[in-house]
C-alpha cells in the first residue's frame, strides 16, 4: 500500500496490545447507524508509473502557450522565473514543515518570512507586513476589514476600474461585515469623478478609499496624490492595491500616502498555475500593526539573551482570541512568500528595476504600433499606463473572431472587457512583460491586423 509503512505483522501486534482482533474492530466506537455501508464509489489505486501517465493524458488537453506569446494579464503575468527559484523552494525541509509554532526547530522558515516581510515593506513603503494573505483579492478584503475596525466607520469607496474579481471578493465577504460599499464613477476619459468622491467623503462616514495602481485597465489614476489628500482630509484611510513591479518605476505607495497596501505577489517568481497558489501581500504602518490580520514574524533583538525569530503579536490571532480575533486566517501562503523572497533576492536591485522598465517599454512600443492599426483604438489614449492597456475594436463583433485567430497562431490574447465594463464592448486588455521584444510585438501586431482584415 503506498505511503503506509506498517507491515501485517506490525499491525497484528499493535492490535494485540489494544486487545483487538481485526483492523476494523478499531472503528467499533462509530455508531452503526452512521457507518458507511459498502465501499466508496471511487476507482482503484494506480501504481506511480500509471499515475504519471494518467496525469500526462489529462494535461495534454491543456494548451500551453510560449511565455512570450502570453499577452493576457488582468492580475496574473507571465514573467520569467529563474530556475534557481524553483530549486530552492523545493527544499523539502521547508515545504514539508507546518506553520512555525516551535521556533527552536523553525528558524529557517521564520527568518525567510522575516525577510519576506522586509521585502514587502520596501516595495510598499510600509512598516509592517503580515506573513501573507491568500491572494491579492483576499488581501484587499483583509484591508477593508482592517479599515473598518481602525476607523469604526461604515463606508468603503471602491474605484470604477478595480479588478472585478477583487470587487466580487470584497462584496462576498461583506455579506457578514455589512459595510457600505460604494463605487466612485469615472468619466469617458477614465478620470475618477472627484465631485462624487467629495460628496462621499463629506458624509464623514468613509473608512477607506481604495485605489488600484495601476488600475485594472493598466493606467494610473489621474492625480493620485490629490485623491489621497482628499481622503486624508476627510479622515479616511487610503488602501492601495498595487502590481509589485510598478514600484520599479513609481514611488512606493507609502511615499504616495497610502495607509494600507495590498498586492498580488504572483509576478514575483510564481507561475501562473491556473490562478493559484498565488500570494497576497498585505502591509501597513506600525501604528496599525495590532489590527493587521494573519501571522507576523518578529525578531528578538540582540539585547535579549538569545537572538532569533518568532511568530509575534499572536494575541491578535484566532487560536488565542477566538471570536474576537482580528481575522480567522490560520494557514496562509507561506511557501509562496518564500518563493517571492528568493525571487527578489535573485533579481536584486538591478533586475527589479530593469524588469519594470522593460515591461513599460514593451507595452508602450506595442501601444504605439496598435494605435496605427485601422479598426481599433486605445480605450483611454490620454492616460499614462504601466505594462497593460485596453484596446477596443471599432466593430465590437470583431473581437471574438480575432481572438480565435490569434489563439490559432499560439497567442494568448488578453482579457475581454465587456462583461465587467459594458462601456468597453469590443475591448480587451493586453499585457506585456520583459519577455517580449520588438520582433515579437511586430509579429503580434501583424497577426492581429491580418485577423482583423481577414
Amino acid at each position: 500500500m503506498p505511503y503506509i509503512p506498517n507491515t501485517d505483522a506490525d499491525r497484528s501486534e499493535m492490535l494485540k496490545l489494544l486487545g483487538l482482533k481485526r483492523i476494523d474492530d478499531i472503528f467499533d466506537v462509530i455508531p452503526g447507524h452512521v457507518r458507511l455501508d459498502g465501499d466508496l464509489k471511487l476507482p482503484e489505486g494506480l501504481p506511480e508509473s500509471e499515475l504519471i501517465e494518467y496525469f500526462d493524458f489529462l494535461g495534454a488537453a491543456n494548451q500551453i502557450f510560449p511565455a512570450h506569446r502570453i499577452l493576457a494579464g488582468g492580475g496574473v503575468y507571465a514573467h520569467f522565473i529563474p530556475p534557481v527559484v524553483k530549486e530552492l523552494v523545493h527544499r523539502s525541509e521547508m515545504y514539508s514543515s507546518y506553520t512555525p509554532y516551535q521556533p527552536e526547530v523553525s528558524q529557517g522558515m521564520l527568518q525567510a518570512i522575516f525577510e519576506y516581510q522586509s521585502f514587502v515593506c520596501m516595495l510598499t513603503g510600509m512598516e509592517a507586513s503580515n506573513a501573507s494573505s491568500y491572494d491579492g483579492g483576499t488581501a484587499l478584503m483583509d484591508a477593508v476589514l482592517m479599515a473598518g475596525n481602525i476607523t469604526s466607520k461604515p463606508r468603503i469607496l471602491l474605484p470604477r476600474f478595480l479588478n472585478p474579481q477583487y470587487r466580487e471578493i470584497v462584496e462576498t465577504s461583506n455579506l457578514g461585515m455589512q459595510l457600505k460599499l460604494e463605487t466612485i464613477p469615472a468619466d469617458s476619459n477614465g478620470i475618477l469623478d472627484s465631485v462624487a468622491l467629495d460628496g462621499e467623503l463629506a458624509s464623514g462616514e468613509v473608512a477607506a478609499l481604495v485605489l488600484q495602481v495601476p488600475n485594472y485597465l493598466g493606467f494610473y489614476e489621474d492625480g493620485i496624490c490629490e485623491l489621497v489628500d482628499m481622503a486624508h482630509k476627510a479622515e479616511a484611510l487610503v488602501i492601495m492595491a498595487v502590481y509589485p513591479f510598478v514600484v520599479g518605476v513609481m514611488r512606493t505607495p507609502g511615499e504616495l500616502g497610502a495607509d494600507i497596501v495590498v498586492a498580488e505577489g504572483q509576478p514575483l517568481g510564481l507561475p501562473s498555475a491556473y490562478g493559484g497558489p498565488h500570494l497576497g501581500c498585505l502591509a501597513t504602518k506600525m501604528e496599525h500593526i495590532r489590527q493587521l490580520p494573519g501571522r507576523i514574524v518578529g525578531r528578538t533583538g540582540a539585547a535579549f539573551d538569545r537572538e532569533g525569530f518568532v511568530m509575534t503579536l499572536q494575541a491578535r490571532e484566532q487560536h488565542i482570541r477566538r471570536e474576537r480575533a482580528s481575522s480567522n486566517i490560520c494557514t496562509n501562503q507561506a511557501l509562496a512568500a518564500l518563493q517571492a523572497t528568493v525571487y527578489l533576492s535573485i533579481v536584486g536591485k538591478d533586475g527589479f528595476h530593469k524588469i519594470a522598465r522593460k515591461c513599460e517599454e514593451n507595452a508602450h512600443y506595442a501601444a504605439k504600433q496598435l494605435e496605427a492599426v485601422e479598426g481599433l483604438h486605445l480605450a483611454y489614449p490620454e492616460r499614462a499606463f504601466f505594462n497593460e492597456f485596453a484596446v477596443v475594436f471599432d466593430d465590437p463583433e470583431k473581437l471574438n473572431p480575432v481572438r480565435r485567430m490569434l489563439l490559432a497562431r499560439d497567442w494568448l490574447p488578453g482579457v475581454p472587457l465587456e462583461e465587467s465594463f459594458p462601456e468597453l464592448a469590443g475591448g480587451m486588455l493586453l499585457a506585456f512583460t520583459e519577455l517580449q521584444n520588438r520582433d515579437t510585438i511586430d509579429e503580434f501586431v501583424g497577426d492581429l491586423k491580418e485577423a482583423l482584415n481577414g
Binding site: 483492523i23 523553525s106 529557517g108 521585502f119 525569530f309 484566532q318 533586475g351 530593469k354
Partner: protein, 484 residues
C-alpha cells in the same frame, strides 16, 4: 546576529540580464512626474551562488516531515508523496494561465471536475466548490452560505454554536460572517451531548440558532456518539450543521459527514490529502454541501457540458471567495494522491491512522494522564498535569522532544485540557518510529520524577529561550535600509 539576505548585499555583485535592454534610459519616461521614482528600489545585490547558499542554510535550520516524526495534533502532518510534487510542477499545470479560454484548459477542468466528484463521494455531499484557499477560508465560505440561506428564508438566526473544544478558526470565521458565537460545554466524555445542546439553544431561543460547527472525531480525537441526535434536533429547529474537515483522516471510507447529518463540510487538502503544508501554506479548503445549500456555492463550479467541461454559476451564489478557481496546484496534488490510493488505499489510511494513534495512547496511558481516556480515532490528547506538579510543563516536554529530534505535538490545545499535548501520528509512520517516540516519552516521565530540573536541560538545541514576550512588546518585524 543571524545574517539576513540584506546583510550579504555588495553593490555591483549581481547584474541581472534582461534581453534587449541596451539603450534603455534608466529613468522611466512614462510615469507621471508627481509619482515617478528617482532611484532604483534598494533591493539587495547578492551573487546567485550566495543566494543559493543562504536559503539552503535556512532550510537546514528547519524541521519538516522529511526530517523526522511530526506528531502535531490536528495538523495531520503526513508524508508528502513526491509524485504529487513532480506532476504538479509540469508545464501542463504550472504554466496554464487562468485567463485562457476554457476550450484551451479542458485538462484542468477535467481534473477539477474529478476532484469535485471524488470529494463529494468521500464526504457524502452533493456538490463541492474547490475555491477556498485553506480550512479557515472554507469555514468563512460555509458561514456566509448559511447566512445567505437564512437571509433568503427571511430569518435572522444570529447565533452560531461551537463546542468548547473547537478550533479557534471556527468561532473567528462565524464572527466575521456576522454570527454571535455561543460556546457549548463538552460533557464528561469530552463530547457534545444532545441534552446540553438543547438547553443552550433554548437559552438563546431556538428560532435564533443558526447552527453548530463541529468536527468529528472532535479535537480530543473522540468520535461524537450523539452526532445523529444532534443533527436531528438542529434540523428540527431549522438550524444547519457545519463539519470542520480537519479530522477527516480518521474517517476515510468508513464514515461520511453527509451520513452523520451535516449540511456542509470543508476539507483540508493540506492535511487529509497529503499536500505539503509549505511552512504555513498554501493549503486548500474546498467545501461540500447537501442539496439545500447547492444554490449558494461560490462560483465558478465545473460541470460537464457538451463535448467537455464548462464553468457555471449557481443561481443564488454567494459570489466569489478567491481569485479564479482556488489554489489550483494544490488541487492537482490532492487529485494525484487520490488516484494513487484509490478506494482501498483510502480505507487503509483511516485504519492505520487510527491504529497508530491508539497504539501510542496505549503505550503512554500509565505514565501520563489521559483525561478522556477511551478508544481514540486518529489522535488523542494527554495531559502533563502529573508532571506539572513536579515542575515540568507540557511546554518543557515539547522542547525535550525537539531536543531529541522529534517534532513536538500540539500543546495547550484543545483549551479544555490543562497542559494538553495533542498527538497525531498519521498513517505514514511505521511502528518503529512510534516505538522510538513512545520510548522517549516514557523515559521522560521517569526522568521528571527523578530530577525535574535536570530534565529541562536541552543540550542539543542551539536556539532556545527566545524572549517572545519582549518581542511582542517591542515588535521588530522587518529589516530596513538605513536610508530609504
Amino acid at each position: 546576529m543571524a545574517r539576513l539576505i540584506f546583510d550579504k548585499s555588495r553593490p555591483g555583485s549581481r547584474r541581472y540580464d534582461v534581453a534587449d535592454f541596451t539603450g534603455l534610459e534608466p529613468e522611466s519616461p512614462f510615469v507621471p512626474d508627481d509619482i515617478r521614482r528617482a532611484e532604483p528600489l534598494p533591493l539587495p545585490e547578492v551573487a546567485e551562488v550566495d543566494v543559493v547558499r543562504h536559503y539552503v542554510k535556512l532550510s537546514q535550520e528547519n524541521f519538516g516531515v522529511d526530517v523526522g516524526f511530526y506528531p502535531l495534533g490536528s495538523c495531520t502532518m503526513k508524508y508528502n508523496p513526491k509524485a504529487n510534487e513532480e506532476i504538479a510542477s509540469l508545464p501542463a499545470w504550472a504554466q496554464l494561465h487562468p485567463e485562457q479560454p476554457v476550450e484551451t484548459a479542458q485538462g484542468a477542468l477535467a481534473l477539477m471536475h474529478e476532484l469535485q466528484e471524488s470529494l463529494a463521494e468521500i464526504s457524502g455531499m452533493h456538490a463541492v466548490s474547490l475555491q477556498p484557499a485553506a480550512g479557515a477560508h472554507g469555514e468563512l465560505t460555509g458561514m456566509l452560505m448559511f447566512r445567505a440561506c437564512f437571509n433568503d428564508a427571511g430569518e435572522e438566526r444570529k447565533v452560531m454554536i461551537v463546542p468548547d473544544s473547537s478550533h479557534g478558526t471556527n468561532p473567528a470565521s462565524a464572527a466575521i460572517a456576522g454570527f454571535k458565537v455561543a460556546h457549548l460545554k463538552s460533557d464528561e466524555r469530552g463530547m457534545v451531548s444532545a441534552k446540553a445542546l438543547k438547553a443552550l439553544c433554548e437559552k438563546h431561543g431556538e428560532e435564533n440558532i443558526g447552527g453548530i460547527m463541529m468536527t468529528n472525531p472532535n479535537t480530543l480525537g473522540v468520535f461524537e456518539q450523539e452526532v445523529k441526535e444532534v443533527a436531528e434536533y438542529l434540523h428540527e429547529i431549522g438550524a444547519l450543521l457545519y463539519y470542520d474537515g480537519a479530522n477527516l483522516n480518521a474517517s476515510l471510507g468508513y464514515v461520511r459527514p453527509g451520513d452523520m447529518g451535516f449540511d456542509l463540510v470543508h476539507f483540508n487538502l493540506h492535511k487529509t490529502f497529503s499536500t505539503p503544508h509549505g511552512g504555513g501554506g498554501p493549503g486548500s479548503g474546498p467545501v461540500g454541501v447537501r442539496e439545500k445549500l447547492m444554490p449558494y456555492l461560490p462560483h465558478p463550479l465545473v460541470t460537464r457540458a457538451e463535448g467537455g467541461f464548462a464553468f457555471y454559476r449557481p443561481e443564488k451564489s454567494i459570489g466569489r471567495m478567491k481569485l479564479y478557481f482556488g489554489n489550483f496546484l494544490v488541487l492537482v496534488k490532492a487529485m494525484v494522491y487520490l488516484r494513487a490510493l484509490g478506494v482501498e488505499g483510502l480505507k487503509r489510511v483511516a485504519e492505520n491512522a487510527v491504529l497508530n494513534a491508539n497504539y501510542i495512547q496505549e503505550r503512554l496511558k500509565d505514565a501520563y494522564d489521559i483525561p478522556f481516556y477511551q478508544r481514540c480515532m486518529h489522535e488523542f490528547v494527554l495531559s502533563a498535569t502529573r508532571q506539572k506538579k513536579l515542575g515540568v510543563r507540557a511546554l518543557d516536554i515539547a522542547k525535550k522532544l525537539l531536543n531529541d529530534g522529534f517534532h513536538a505535538p500540539t500543546i495547550y490545545f484543545p483549551l479544555i485540557v490543562s497542559e494538553a499535548m495533542m498527538i497525531e501520528p498519521t498513517e505514514t509512520e511505521s511502528r518503529q518510529t512510534l516505538d522510538a517516540f513512545c520510548d522517549a516519552m516514557l523515559r521522560y516521565a521517569r526522568e521528571i520524577e527523578e530530577d525535574a530540573e535536570k530534565f529541562k536541560e536541552l543540550p542539543n538545541l542551539r536556539i532556545q529561550h527566545l524572549d517572545e514576550v519582549a518581542a511582542a512588546r517591542n515588535p521588530v518585524v522587518r529589516w530596513a535600509p538605513e536610508k530609504l
